[in-house]
Symmetry: C2
Subunit: 435 residues, 2 copies
């Protein structure tokens, strides 16, 4: 599809935005803000601000769009006063694009319509630090893929040294169903879970707080257009079902996972919490960052074959703020989504290949994203070789798995030609296990 | 908790009910009926009829209950005019019990209140054959356990002859997360799915219609009371979170499942469809059918230890109506939920042990229920030893896996002292794969 005018690199906003900011006028990601006294509503991030779409709609700033896109017109302004993006997503891609492009117009440096209306700006433009971010979507279903070859190989080496990558891995995007009820927004503390596990070298399992709490660096896409039972999606049309992308931390209890996961996969080792970043960056905004992705050998079966560029190059960082630290967090891993073997289009086409309905608001996570170098691994299981080789960090800190009080921050951004499209961050701090 | 007066075996109804009927006055399961011209609403099954709770409430038949249970009173009659039981379940156990007991009163042979009001009876009491049954709950999340030792052993023997039952199996109720979006109500046709699989003896996978379509005989419980993030549930209190039980057919594509499921568990081999029976039988109604369940050795860890009877003896049957058949379906398996190793209480306590929130409307299925004899196996994978020993059926029929046009019917009922509490049935017919 043609590039959106909202992506034009020459656009500038009347809002002051630093070049290192995640949310320039070319980004315009969607989220849910909770405004003190006024409740939750949809917003778009711009620089350090959130633009309150509900307030804008009430003031008539979407009237022209409502005329052009009748399904949006019929839903305004109420569809902007919701606790999740789901109802807005259900209006479809024409509505999403029309709103993003209208917001882009309103924020352009040379458009006085909002800029010069002081009362409107005071109502509609809120500092992000003054609002609470809510979980952006109510996930209908959550699927976790396993699409980084480096991650699958590294984990396989720990569990099956002679046979690290199983034969199905390079033939299909392996995935499993996760749990939606424990998906929380960035900033939510993560209580160390209890679970059953087999202590190393012992034969009797125990039940207690996990001793091997880990993060997983992932991105996830949000399904914006669903499918009916029995409907499949040609891989060439798969991206039209994707609204956008966010950061995803799939917290994991490795000891629990190891003991429980055969033969049916992870359960309590994963479902105690997953954290998402609050702003969903649209696939439209990521359009300039397409890359070809790794060569796929063996050639995928026809239902997974694509031509053109369907991967995206989003730089990713993991930062650790150790318990008790007062200094800034430091980077413990740096990688990119361009390392992923299977594209989002292939993941979605595979997901629908058997006729399982996709629902608006579904989250499909990438699986842990690791790169080829020791500094680009996406979880502590890999970074510490299963906990046996602690990370040596500044201030004589040795880290195997996460300790109570540790904070993990995932960040992501795509950047070239001076334009930075950021995903923001997702953070969580480990709380001690319940008594 | 004390037995409900609605369970009294001496109760009789003014509605004529045969002794073999699944829905005597002691049962009173809840479901969603779609009434032509009037739309979906809650109903209770009685004999061959459905009692329209919304119509009853409009006519004042729940006024006394509304006075006694304020949370119900505030929600009536609207909470009975919904497309799922979820909103009613959220009112809590006091409300569920009050409604069931009031319905019991209204249907007693000696209560003229409804019986003698001809116009009310004509409005409220509908023949089941005149209404469409909808999916009774909108499943918030779906978890499939694996709690039949016989099933886990039989499947293990096919895949790992020297090590059929993995060491974790007898220590915890193994489970995995399933997909809610493809859960359909009884009567929905099941389209044979496409999928990727490795044909026997070959090294290159193919993509096409599954050649090994199977059913799985399961029951599932409906969560009626949720938990918050981080909250756990003592196993002794677990049953208070369960509203009721239904029949569950976890359709499976064995070739797809075998190829995809390592290391993260089943995905497209399962998520194309699961079928549920339309009436949810309350745990209250099943109270008289408690049994001790199998001895658990090794002794479970304390968080899974229970005393008393927490298993239930529900007889289960699988019937096949072969493609093209004109005669009655015939039974191909007969077993009981009493064979399950892990109880629903243990399943639920384990599920919550890491703090993962349970949500109202969650479905937790048992996993395939097999008994110890060849005639008591719960899926074709077991009944035919992985498809290698076809079932010899009447009329010279040899069945390995399901063929287009085959219909599978699961039935369930608990029975003693002349009282039969039925779960009704769940059925589905296999349609040919899409072109």
């Amino acid at each position: 599809m043609p590039a959106s005018p909202a992506n034009d690199p020459s656009l500038r906003s009347w809002i002051d935005i630093r070049p290192t900011d995640d949310f320039p006028i070319q980004n315009l990601p969607f989220g849910i803000i909770d405004v003190p006294d006024w409740g939750p509503r949809l917003a778009v991030a711009i620089g350090g601000y959130a633009l309150d779409l509900y307030a804008c709609a009430q003031l008539g700033y979407f009237d022209s769009v409502a005329d052009d896109v009748p399904e949006l017109g019929a839903a305004l302004p109420k569809v902007f006063r919701r606790r999740s993006l789901n109802a807005f997503l259900k209006l479809g891609p024409t509505a999403w694009r029309a709103v993003r492009e209208r917001v882009s117009e309103l924020l352009r440096h040379d458009n006085p319509a909002l800029r010069d209306n002081e009362l409107a700006v005071r109502t509609c433009l809120l500092r992000q630090r003054d609002v609470t971010m809510l979980r952006p979507v109510k996930p209908a279903n959550y699927t976790d893929f396993y699409s980084s070859r480096e991650h699958a190989t590294n984990v396989g080496l720990l569990f099956r040294p002679d046979n690290p990558l199983l034969p199905n891995w390079s033939r299909l995007p392996v995935a499993y169903h996760g749990r939606t009820s424990s998906i929380v927004v960035s900033g939510t503390d993560i209580r160390r879970p209890h679970g059953q596990y087999l202590p190393s070298g012992q034969t009797e399992p125990v039940f207690g707080p996990t001793q091997q709490l880990d993060f997983e660096l992932e991105t996830a896409f949000v399904v914006g257009q669903g499918t009916a039972l029995g409907e499949t999606v040609p891989v060439g049309q798969a991206e039209s079902h994707i609204f956008g992308v966010l950061l995803f931390n799939d917290w994991s209890a490795r000891d629990v996972q190891r003991w429980e996961a055969q033969p049916l996969g992870p359960f309590l080792g994963k479902n105690f919490a997953s954290s998402v970043s609050p702003w969903v960056v649209t696939l439209d905004a990521l359009e300039p960052f397409r890359v070809a992705g790794p060569a796929q050998e063996p050639t995928p079966l026809p239902y997974l074959q694509t031509s053109g560029e369907h991967h995206f190059d989003i730089q990713l960082e993991v930062l650790l703020l150790p318990a008790g630290a007062t200094a800034a967090p430091f980077v413990i891993s740096h990688t990119s989504t361009s390392h992923l073997y299977w594209s989002m289009a292939q993941q979605l086409a595979h997901h629908a290949a058997g006729g399982c309905p996709l629902e608006v608001g579904d989250l499909c996570a990438s699986g842990t994203i690791s790169g080829p170098t020791p500094g680009s691994l996406g979880c502590l299981l890999e970074l510490t070789h299963g906990g046996t080789q602690p990370l040596a960090l500044p201030n004589d800190l040795q880290l195997s798995y996460l300790r109570d009080g540790d904070t993990i921050i995932l960040r992501g951004y795509a950047e070239h030609s001076g334009i930075r499209i950021g995903l923001g961050e997702v953070r969580g701090t480990v709380l001690p296990a319940a008594e």
